[in-house]
């Protein structure tokens, strides 16, 4: 997997407030970055800027490779069984082997449960399953550990390590400590405007 993500001199403004400025970031295949900072400092905005969903106030982002995003929004049809809801994204992503993600994330028993019955942790695991099925090199993760139990956290940290080992990039915005293969941290407070 070949991937690259480069952000140059990013600044982010929300409303009248400048959240951060002068943030540059270069990631090549295999890189993992932990973005830390207090609530409201702009972690989610940074992830959305890197994903191309939010225009930066200043600066530019360049990416090579497809992007997979996991944030607090599930993007699955609440009334459908989990398996059917995930199948829509699998079809779009052209994913053949869905069993692997289900097994890794321990979701196989939940496939016929409607999405709105799932617990917080199970919903998070469903979002991560969508990410795995997408099989894309750049992972942008916004608080991926929220709601996961210790065992699932460990399992997911192992998945990130595996992803980076095979040449992927993982950018993780999280206020919780997370074990990443290359412990590189961006403290957003240093770039606060």
């Amino acid at each position: 997997m070949q991937a690259r993500l480069a952000a140059k001199d990013l600044a982010c403004r929300r409303g009248d407030r400048l959240l951060f400025r002068g943030l540059s970031l270069e990631c090549d295949s295999g890189a993992a970055v932990h973005v830390t900072g207090a609530n409201g400092i702009g972690k989610s905005s940074l992830i959305r800027i890197l994903a191309g969903l939010l225009r930066p106030f200043f600066g530019a982002v360049e990416t090579i490779g497809d992007i997979g995003l996991v944030d607090e929004r599930l993007a699955l049809d609440e009334a459908l069984p989990l398996g059917t809801a995930l199948a829509f994204w699998e079809r779009l992503d052209g994913c053949r082997d869905t069993g692997r993600a289900m097994e890794l994330l321990d979701l196989a028993d939940l496939l016929d449960v409607p999405v709105h019955f799932l617990s917080t942790g199970q919903r998070k695991r469903a979002a991560l399953a969508r990410l795995l099925n997408r099989n894309c090199p750049i992972w942008l993760l916004d608080e991926p550990l929220n709601g996961l139990d210790t065992q699932a956290q460990k399992a997911f940290e192992a998945l990130i390590a595996q992803h980076c080992e095979s040449g992927g990039i993982a950018i993780v915005a999280s206020h919780q400590p997370i074990a990443l293969p290359s412990p590189r941290t961006i403290a957003l407070a240093e770039f606060a405007a």
Binding site: L54, D66, I67, L69, A75, D77, F88
Partner: protein
């Protein structure tokens, strides 16, 4: 990709689907046709003369009912963000939604028009004009509805506002569509169809731009 999108949108919006208004617009439409004779009395001539216009107003108002769930739920759930990352533009998503929205309410309304016409005592010729007019006008109503639903999706209380915003935008369709009832030539129907086609051509772009701007907000 468009096939997959359309399949999901139809599953959401078609009657019996999990996200749409179901048969509510149909029942609303028939209810108006049923109540109108009660309100104005059993004057068959009056009913026959005004019934076509009543059907048009009922159709316009029924088209507002599905708007609340048309865009908001998917915007809140981040579906459009995930589609954007997969290279599906907002315009494509909105084009698919427009088609699904029209299929979900217009054929039902057209099916319900003959019984509604019977309730109002309309003649065969009037019924034909109303049916042709609705066939020409409902795509335009769907397009206006989609644009307005996308514009108001990120607002609190957007659904009520959407209903109010659709009405002035739909007035041209109503004027020419219902106007065809009182003029024998077919120019009214053709103008309705022209407005509809124009609106359908604009709608995916206008609604797509609305979704993108909601994302920035």
């Amino acid at each position: 990709m468009i096939g997959t999108l359309l399949r999901r949108d139809l599953g959401l919006l078609m009657p019996g689907g999990r996200g749409g208004a179901g048969v509510l617009p149909l029942l609303f439409f028939l209810a108006v046709a049923m109540l109108y004779p009660f309100a104005v009395g059993p004057d068959a001539q009056l009913l026959a003369r005004t019934g076509g216009g009543v059907i048009w107003v009922a159709a316009l108002l029924a088209a507002i009912l599905p708007l609340e769930k048309l865009v908001t739920a998917d915007l809140d759930a981040g579906v459009f963000d995930q589609l954007h990352l997969r290279g599906a533009s907002e315009e494509l998503a909105m084009a698919s939604r427009l088609l699904a929205h029209w299929l979900a309410f217009a054929p039902l309304l057209l099916l319900a028009t003959p019984p509604a016409a019977a309730l109002l005592g309309l003649g065969g010729e009037t019924l034909r004009t109303v049916l042709l007019g609705l066939l020409a006008g409902t795509p335009g109503l769907a397009a206006v509805g989609l644009i307005v639903a996308a514009l108001t999706a990120s607002l609190r209380g957007g659904a009520a506002l959407a209903g109010l915003m659709v009405i002035p935008l739909a007035v041209p369709i109503l004027i020419f569509g219902a106007g065809a009832l009182s003029r024998p030539e077919s120019s009214g129907l053709l103008l309705t169809a022209a407005i509809s086609l124009g609106l359908c051509a604009i709608a995916p772009f206008a609604a797509g731009a609305a979704i993108r701007s909601a994302r920035e907000g």
